[in-house]
């Protein structure tokens, strides 16, 4: 019974997935069928930049400063998933769980404070 109920819940997730796929593929196929097929001039193939003339290619080397923000995102994403696991059993884990989580977060806050003090969070 429990197993059946568990997978029935994911059946709805599969329906959502299918609807999402149909919307995306439907848009692409409709555009393929309906769009006029003219000759492809240089102007038509150019990237649309809201009316601006595009400069260079879209593939450029980004400044390395972005790396810090990507890594901070990963770190706090991992923290969030641990927090979620902790929150579901907060009542049973009690004070011990609270202390464990406090230590975990404090260590990460130390990293955040370090980033702050070094001034890398400021965009200059």
């Amino acid at each position: 019974m429990g197993q059946e109920f568990y997978l029935t819940g994911y059946f709805y997730a599969a329906v959502f997935l299918a609807v999402g796929a149909v919307v995306v593929l439907g848009g692409l196929i409709a555009s393929l069928l309906l769009a006029p097929r003219g000759h492809k001039t240089r102007e038509k193939l150019r990237a649309y930049e809201s009316g601006e003339e595009p400069v260079g290619t879209a593939w450029v080397q980004f400044p390395v400063r972005f790396y810090i923000f990507a890594l901070l995102f990963v770190v706090f994403d991992v923290e969030a998933i641990f927090l979620f696991a902790w929150a579901t059993r907060f009542g049973q884990l009690g004070v011990v769980g609270l202390v464990e989580m406090a230590i975990f977060i404090l260590v990460l806050v130390a990293g955040l404070v370090y980033a702050w003090r070094k001034g890398v969070l400021k965009w200059t």
Binding site: Q3, W59, V78, E100, L108
Partner: protein
């Protein structure tokens, strides 16, 4: 897993995962290979769901399909010529790779053949996140705290590497 529909869904997910994984190693544009990696991660999350490990599946989607892939795409954007069509370079080590794969297959077949499998299905009394959280904050409390130190080291390392002065 006895339900034929569940078996069918498993084979569907497994097929998508394997095709996406082949895409990761065979596509020559590294950006497309990274997007195929997302699909592979999502397929693995689907397998986790079929194994009743729903919390692990959530972790897989959030951390691997979300954060790790973001990290990868950033890494691609930070390199010098990310857009070149041959950015996912091939090399001439397919013989060596074949040997490594064969060794892995032999080891896996040996391990799976000699393993003792439980004959009765475990009782799913609690949700998997309950069991996982209980284990994580009691038996594995120390590894959990060490994980925070690892994350801290990664943060400090990134700051030292990427600071512009």
């Amino acid at each position: 897993m006895s339900d034929p529909l569940v078996t069918l869904v498993f084979y569907g997910i497994a097929a998508v995962t394997i095709v996406a994984a082949i895409g990761v190693v065979s596509l020559r544009n590294i950006y497309r290979a990274a997007l195929c990696l997302v699909l592979t991660f999502l397929g693995v999350a689907g397998v986790y769901i079929l194994l009743n490990a729903d919390f692990v599946a959530v972790m897989q989607v959030l951390i691997y399909a979300g954060a790790v892939t973001t990290m990868l795409l950033f890494a691609i954007m930070l390199t010098r010529s990310p857009g070149s069509p041959r950015s996912n370079a091939a090399n001439r080590q397919s013989g060596l790779a074949l040997f490594a794969v064969l060794v892995l297959v032999v080891l896996l077949v040996l391990a799976l053949g000699t393993a003792v499998w439980p004959q009765t299905a475990p009782v799913a009394a609690q949700s998997s996140v309950d069991v996982l959280a209980k284990q994580l904050f009691t038996t594995y409390a120390l590894p959990f705290e060490i994980a925070s130190v690892l994350l801290l080291a990664a943060m400090v390392g990134a700051i030292i590497l990427a600071r512009e002065d």
